[in-house]
C-alpha cells in the first residue's frame, strides 16, 4: 500500500467523521437513537482525531524516509479521476438545487405570493452535506482504483 492510498483511507475516515458529526449536531438523529447522540458524536470526534493523528504520523515518517518516491504519475491520474467523480456529484446536486429554486420562483409567480418549496436553511444543509459527500466520493473512487489493481 502506497502512502497515497493510506492518505485516501485517512481522507475517507475523516470526511465520514465530519459528515456524521454535522448530521448529529446540525440536523439531529431520528427518535429511536436520539438518546445516544452524545455517544455517537463522541465516536465521530474520536474517529476524526484518530485519522488526524495517523495523517501526522505518516507525514513525519515520510519526512524521514525520503529515499522512495512519494507520488508518481499514476497517483496523479487516480487523484484526477477522484476529483472528477466528486465534481460530477457536486454539479448534479447544484443543477438539481438550481432547478428547485426556479420551480419555487415559478410557483411563487403563479400563486402571487412568496412560496418556498423548502425552508432556505434546508438548502444550506443540502449544500454542506453535498460537499462532504463529494469528499467521500473522491476518496472512494481513489481507493477503488488503487484496490482494483489488487496489489497492496
Amino acid at each position: 500500500m502506497t502512502n497515497q492510498e493510506r492518505y485516501a483511507w485517512i481522507s475517507l475516515v475523516s470526511t465520514l467523521a465530519i459528515l456524521g458529526l454535522y448530521i448529529v449536531l446540525a440536523i439531529g438523529l431520528p427518535e429511536p437513537i436520539e438518546d445516544h447522540a452524545d455517544a455517537i458524536s463522541d465516536f465521530f470526534v474520536k474517529a476524526f482525531g484518530f485519522a488526524l493523528l495517523v495523517r501526522i504520523g505518516l507525514a513525519v515518517y515520510g519526512a524521514f524516509e525520503k529515499r522512495r518516491v512519494e507520488k508518481d504519475e499514476r497517483d496523479a491520474l487516480i487523484e484526477l479521476k477522484g476529483y472528477r467523480s466528486a465534481y460530477f456529484f457536486v454539479i448534479t446536486v447544484v443543477v438539481t438545487l438550481a432547478g428547485h429554486l426556479l420551480i419555487s420562483d415559478f410557483v411563487s409567480d403563479a400563486a402571487g405570493a412568496r412560496v418556498f418549496l423548502s425552508a432556505p436553511f434546508v438548502t444550506l444543509h443540502v449544500l454542506v452535506i453535498t460537499f462532504l459527500v463529494a469528499g467521500v466520493f473522491e476518496a472512494t473512487t481513489k481507493l477503488f482504483l488503487y484496490r482494483k489493481d489488487g496489489l497492496s
Binding site: 502506497t2 522512495r68 507520488k71 504519475e73 499514476r74 489493481d149 496489489l151
Partner: protein
Amino acid sequence: MSKTPIRNNIRTLRFLHDEMTQQELADKIGVTRQTVHAIEAAKYSPSLEVAFRIAAVFDLPLEDIFHYEPDG
C-alpha cells in the same frame, strides 16, 4: 483500470538483469513499486517519459520493450 492494449516484457527483462526487483526498477525510473506492477500487468500505460526511462534502464529501444496489441 482495465487492461491497456500496450503490452510489455518488463518482467522478463527484470529477470534477465540480475533478477531486478520491482522496487529496484521503480527507484531507478522514479515511480512507486505499485506503478511498476500496474505497468507489467498492462493495467496502466506509462507516460512517454517513464517509458523512455525504462528503456534506458534496460539499454534497449522502446519497441523491444513495449508492443501495441489492440485486440490482445
